[in-house]
Symmetry: D3
């Protein structure tokens, strides 16, 4: 079998970061992918990038994915330069601030996926300890999973894997995962489930504005602590709405599942007890 | 400032894997840590280990953390050999199956953290697609965060970081995060919140038995699909119970927060509007 | 007792419309107010305004309140002209679109209250029947009540009533009820209750954008029906969050209540079994 | 088009009052109705009635609706006299106490709609401030909307509108909206949704007895405050049950919607994405 | 220790029947009571009574409790005759229909406890199978437990036990457990918890009227099946409200507990981790 | 009609005890059963058994059921001896500890039903007062009802009744009600409802381990009180999961009901408004 060798660079953390490698091989039994991950934890300064990206470029990869918050920030900008210069096909995965550098990314010959609902966290010391950080990411992951956003991510990368298997030049994606793109992939059978997922996606997307306000625009702790706390309450209620959407589909046994098959192809099924095909 | 250079190796995915690096530097502003992460996605076969571990050992690290499901499996066993031979202090983070090789880990001069509630997922193709995988991990992360398990993880690693800063020989942890160890760190003020968190931890722990039954002991899809589906229902209800615990503490403004301070020390606070100290 | 004679004109329906007269005399026992309401139901075309406003101006009122959606629309614009010409002090109550004509209102010598979270409804025939309309308004009323917005409305009008009682020239309000203005009045004792109410206010505010998209910007029913349905799901989840805020204050017996007293003054209390004073 | 000119008199507030005009023209685009509303806020004393009713009778209306709590109270009784003497067809809308004067209303040649679940509020100063009043009305509106009561109201008045359009003498309704009348109109497809709505209607109806006890029969604040508070808890739980009924119908995409059409006729549909016909 | 020998006769099933013996000795370690139970399952016809009551009267009991639905029905009436003739002190425990024979019970020299919220079940074959019966009883037990009704039952019987221990003539209770009697015993610290429990008690009490309507007054299955189903929905929502009351007290660690002590005396405590005294 | 005369002995309390007689005749109208119940309340010491069992054996019964916690305990062991010696067919109903004496029961010629999820209660004085006991039993009954366990109990005993009616030798059951046996009888149409019920059964089963730990293995109140409290939180969350399973089936009108018919046969139906057949 032709194995697509994928490099994943994780500098700083997005809601999509923890799963971007996992969604490509959810049961660790996909024969046609070999994934190497390198990262710098939550830090994404230029010096972190300058260590990690070259490290990855030492490896023989069919394509490389660089995922970080804010593709316009200094670190991620440096990463784009390094990847653009390298001759390996590369793609940037980022959040809404990435929309401001979309064209630059295209000019650099890089692909991109912008996940609009993958909102920034409430990063204030009085509020965000490791526990709160993990709880926020859990809610964000629930939203991105159940609204279909993660399915768009793996469908898009699976297409690149297919190009590799077909010996074709990899068509780098230029994709913004909007509310409608996400729920389209979620493939809800019930229209109210779809409506709830759309609502969840919109609320999650709005969280970014509130955390920007709380982290950058308001300097009085008495004010910014409740603001970032309210942003996390919004993400948790978005997660509940996304779960309500899923519970409706479960109640009708119409949950769309798209597992990877034995040869690494993407299968699909609906009834729980059905074989995927 | 004395910077602790940490290496994190992620082979295969545990509920703790996505956050083990993030909890050490939740706002990416901790001056005394530099983290380099390498991993192989969901795969954890010996060949993945044999690539990733040596790659990390090329770097100059103060200590290395290897996190994977089932420390007794072939891949993780190979990693332990490589790390044991290397002269860098190293620690294994794993789930309940790791309890069976605890002594061997000690003999190999490696530290360990076993997270009992970090249960195996329902890895059956008819059920586990990337979306279900991410949703399960979101619930598991919510449990491990709100029951205090993640706080034990970062407290333990912070102690190693403190050893590095103090120029001392790193005292490698030998720790099993049980229900009581986790909720102790969660530091609930309300006894019923503590009881709900304990219940969440027990239910999450039990999920492993059900997924082992569904993935390895029952071969009829008509039977094993509902079994793994029921395991995921248990994890989601555990997450709800953990949230109930958190909501009680929020209702009394007694949520314990332990953020990292400007110098990378661990601070703590209780009232939301209070300054951590 | 000096009785403030108030005129309320309701043309078209806002979330605040049904209660703007009720909040001034919640138990119908306030001796210092006499309210006369005139309106045209949901219609707010110029001809409706041209009937109703003059009708009210025939009455001897100390001040007049005109409440309608979108103070910039033709009907409401006509009302502002008529009220501006009349010599009775008058005030406009509207939703976010009113922000665009704020200055014009001031120039017309009219007061105003803009309620930012009082969002437009999903007015598409395939979705909005009378039952859905009432259900949406019930959720919106719950948000505006429990986030403190209605308290700001009655405090503001009570001040005008006080001017009348004091024989003073009525100081016409120029007020935008933002998230922070609302929750300030709600006077939450628990910071997480405040955060949940702030989240509810933001979500309710965002509903307007979604309904504008569904009612005016998207013309394909297959697309706009789920969009307006998702807007109503957002309002219902905002109502639940506002209720969670209230439940926290109830759990601590710290619900702030501001009833009108025997002489029509505004009292306040916290403990449920306490006498207001 | 033949336009039915309707007069609505709102003296005092019922759960049905805020919407009785709105349900006739939910999107403000019904060509065959012109509604003029006059009211006296929460007050419903004879002097309020003696001002407002004659004011309305000055207008040329096809029929007039007088809605108030307790049609037997002095104010509403005076209104019935005035309307009975006037030669315009008129109808009384009231709550359960109205059942005691049903025959008198008939003798006066007036129509009536009694809404049994439209229960009196907990009107005690220590409990009912404007915020609590609005929250109660929000729950009551949710019950009356989702159990079908409001649909009976607009169907009934639509029949009068149809008489006007047909140039026929208006057949004044003599209708008590009981539990069964309401849920019949709600047209639930799922029998458990119907059962939940029936339960919600019964609980909402029972609220009146509890508020009568708390407001009139018990004079010790230590006793009557918890009683009226418990009445409001009953209404909020009735609202949740009504929502559960709606969520079941949404989960099967069988929500019955009866929007008004372009010519003001009443259409109906079931599937969310279906065109009403 | 002086042991009170108690006889419990269970003919037919009330919500209080399953626990009336259990609440006297909740941990089976109360030294001063010896309980003998005899019953006839759900049947309560005269022939069942005529077997079971004499059987019990053969035993040497300090006092006998006869618990059944509807103390006025033929079977229970027969039991009252038999017990009245016997010279052992005896008490009747029943539901609201017992209020009609209260005086007769007193004349017969029997004590009584009437539990007003212990409502009749929806006993229609098309609806009530053994599973539905058990689920209803579970909800009813939750209401009677958490509203304080069961505490009144055991406090009352404990007083009779105390009389036996003191060698005094047993003072037979004449008690109607109303809403206020129940919540008094529940001893809520938070007034909103008390209000929710009161609401739960009222809703549970109302269930009887609905089941009487569904079981005896309506003969068309199309009508009576939804009616009894709605009664069960009311009991389940009453249980949820009672749980909300308990959750508030848990959130403040003020749950009143009244366990029996080592010598069988009744202790009490509030904080969970406190010793009862 | 041939009437099966059944004796039920209740010594000590299991979750199944309160209903084991009720499920055989849920509407007290089953002509072919006559049930006599005798018990000793919560006490199950040898002296209680030695009174109650012989008392029952005085009666002419077709078969006798002895239900108690822990069939291996001294009291229940004594009961088994007495019943084994008697020539009436007899059956033991117990909880998981009974699995240890399963063979002995068989050798004694007794039938048995072991209900695995019928877990022991948190019997610590500081925690378990009569109210907490009743609340736990309510949750346990909800789980055993809605997961199908109680249906297995009555189906099994109905088969013995059928043997009696057929004049055949009663085939004594040898049955362990596992998770799969229970949900099989619940006959869920929706696979996710089945998965939720399976999860509820597993969590309820696990409660026993936690209460054993809290009641027997840990002696420090500071530790064992939270442990038994967490066990009760697990049972309450299991009850919620079981309710979710039921709500899915209700949403599709596929709730399986197995009422007893006019001749005492077991009927079944699915649609709520359907006649059982
Ligand atoms: Mg391609
Ligand atoms: Mg150390
Ligand atoms: Mg509190
Ligand atoms: Mg002023
Ligand atoms: Mg007609
Ligand atoms: Mg006494
Ligand atoms: Mg047989
Ligand atoms: Mg369905």
């Amino acid at each position: 079998i032709m194995v697509a060798k994928i490099g994943v660079l994780k500098c700083g953390n997005l809601g999509t970061s923890p799963v971007i490698d996992l969604v490509l091989d959810e049961r660790a039994d996909r024969p046609n992918v070999e994934i190497r991950v390198m990262g710098s934890g939550t830090k994404m300064n230029p010096e972190d990038i300058e260590f990690v990206v070259p490290k990855m470029l030492e490896l023989d990869r069919d394509f490389v994915i660089f995922i970080s918050p804010n593709p316009g920030a200094p670190g991620p900008a440096r990463a784009r330069e390094l990847l653009s210069e390298a001759d390996v096909p590369a793609m940037i995965v980022g959040d809404a601030p990435g929309l401001r550098v979309k064209d630059e990314i295209e000019e650099q010959g890089l692909g991109y996926i912008i996940v609009k609902a993958d909102s920034m966290i409430g990063a204030r010391r009085e509020f965000l300890d490791p526990t709160e950080m993990a709880a926020f990411n859990a809610d964000l992951m629930k939203v991105l999973a159940l609204t279909g956003a993660y399915r768009v991510v793996h469908n898009t990368i699976d297409a690149m894997i297919a190009d590799v298997e077909a010996g074709k030049e990899i068509e780098l994606p230029q994709l913004v995962i909007t509310r409608d793109v996400a729920v389209e992939a979620a493939d809800f059978k019930n229209p109210y489930a779809k409506a709830k997922a759309m609502a969840a996606y919109e609320i999650a997307t709005k969280v970014a504005d509130i955390d920007v306000e709380g982290c950058f625009m308001v300097q009085d702790p008495e004010k910014y602590i409740p603001i970032v706390a309210s942003a996390h309450e919004m993400m948790s209620t978005a997660a509940k709405l996304a779960e309500e959407a899923r519970e409706i589909e479960k109640s009708n046994d119409t949950v769309k599942r798209t597992p990877h098959g034995k040869e690494g192809e993407t299968l699909s099924k609906e009834k729980l007890l059905e074989k995927p095909s």
